[in-house]
Symmetry: C2
Subunit: 315 residues, 2 copies
């Protein structure tokens, strides 16, 4: 099969179709999305080499569960061992021996086929198009925040970052509270949110401090500093940014103000699928370009361009 | 009255007895403790100048509440305005206009007299000696953790730091769980905890990772890095260290592991007084030396010595 393989550089190669292990399904990929994590992996993050890609929709070709075969599915990316301490503590997403689709020890979705445990799969509703269904995984990461922090409609929320993840987070938290503002550097990206009715502020403009919750989805080390300035005493900062290098932080203010910081990673698929199916989140304007898998090398280069948002691959 | 005044350097001076404002009591100080914050203030922290000292026990000499007059009391150090946004949100300890005894806008306890709002005062039980009662304020700061983080007897807790605050925290959290270890650099300080039955580990020795809660009370910037290594995924790090300079932190691990950080400052006096009164916390071994107020300049110099723990002043 054709697959985009990262081995120091990304190359479209012909490699064997992956073999499904017991409990796994073989999935023919229909479409996949390029994530900033894919770009970071190429800068050495996680030290991963192999087929990249973890946002996808596909058709189950083979599996033990005959109900699933032939169905269109999306899939959770963390594959736990079910035996380690954290698996036994019901924290499979933090399994010590986990593989992660296209990120850690498991060939990813920029290929014609992938394998995943059947338990990781969710049906893609008929009304959700392929190019929308690929957003399930990053949208689930946005919904993760609602599992970690109680946000009510009286809370004031600031989302820092107008990129792909920031936009999804702003849309998800907008479902919880209308007292929300998204802060970003790019006028055209902020306009996309404003067209949905979400308030935005340009990053260089003044902003009222004292927010109950601030989410750092800037993707850079300065985001958390800004979040510390903006959050109220005893407020919460959600950390979504993963940068490979250390960040210099003045920590006495967060101690004196008794701020809570919460790291936040992958999230629940069910509310993400529901939101896409019900139209509560609008992702189509975020799709900048789509390429055939044969053009995957070009697509990866395009994804580096700050002038684009989501780049999709069709297999 | 005599008072130890910081104005670029600390000097014992003769200054007027402070005047009590409406709602305040005038308190004759019996004894006061020197805290690391007092030393940091002299390095420029908070930009405070004036009489230092915020750990004290004293006798109410004047006040509107006749019940209090003549009573021996300890006092909470944050004096809120009762009018700002955070006061109205029931967070007086984060009042925007607060004064803080001996730290911000209010003359402190290294003096013969101080004033505090009557509402800040708590009776010192008869069975609690002066040199024990002065520990109420730092002990309350240790108890603050139990208001912020649920710790049950099945939780594994690591306290980083064997200094004055680390010891109080270890003793307080030991009341919650016996699955606790205090990590420190000083054999003699760790021995003090071991004599109370609390497990300790020398900082350069290996330590099992995966703790549910790690408290950083090291007082230096490296503590939080160690805490990140030691805490389990979805675990909690309590931040007690305030250092004036920025700390370089690798933040992608705490995001991936979804760690929670909680800043923690001043705490509730009631459980602290109870613990001192009931003997659930043992502070007397922590008293290294005691000086008369006339020797306060010497006492402050002695407090800088890493070979001492608590230095007391008697007025």
């Amino acid at each position: 099969m054709r697959a985009l393989v990262y081995e120091g550089e990304v190359r479209l190669k012909d490699i064997p179709v992956p073999k499904r292990a017991p409990g796994e399904a073989l999935i023919k990929v229909l479409a996949a999305g390029i994530c900033n994590t894919d770009l970071e992996l190429r800068r050495g993050y996680m030290g991963y080499r192999g087929v990249q890609g973890h946002e996808f929709v596909g058709i189950v070709e083979e599996g033990r569960n005959s109900f699933l075969v032939g169905k269109r599915v999306v899939g959770e990316i963390n594959c736990p061992c079910h035996q380690c301490h954290y698996c036994r503590m019901e924290m499979p997403q933090h399994c010590l021996n986990r593989t992660v689709l296209g990120i850690q020890g498991r060939q990813g979705a920029f290929a014609e086929y992938l394998t995943l445990p059947e338990e990781n799969l969710h049906l893609a509703p008929a009304g959700v198009r392929d190019d929308v269904a690929v957003f399930t995984e990053p949208l689930a990461a946005a919904f993760r925040i609602t599992e970690q922090v109680v946000i009510t409609n009286s809370d004031r929320v600031i989302v820092l970052g107008d990129g792909k993840l920031g936009q999804l987070i702003a849309q998800v938290l907008w479902l919880q509270t209308k007292n929300l503002v998204c802060v970003g550097k790019h006028r055209w990206k902020l306009t996309m949110l404003e067209e949905l009715g979400i308030k935005t502020v340009q990053a260089d403009q003044p902003l009222e401090r004292g927010a109950d919750v601030v989410v750092d989805a800037t993707g850079n080390g300065q985001g958390i500093e800004r979040a510390i300035e903006l959050v109220r005493p005893e407020g919460t900062i959600v950390m979504k940014t993963t940068v490979a290098h250390p960040t210099a932080l003045e920590l006495s203010l967060p101690v004196v103000n008794e701020i809570t910081f919460v790291g936040s990673r992958c999230g629940p698929f069910r509310p993400a699928i529901e939101a896409l199916s019900l139209g509560n989140v609008e992702v189509r304007p975020m799709i900048s370009e789509a390429y055939d898998l044969s053009m995957a090398e070009t697509a990866m280069r395009r994804a580096e361009d700050p002038g684009v948002m989501k780049i999709l691959l069709h297999m």
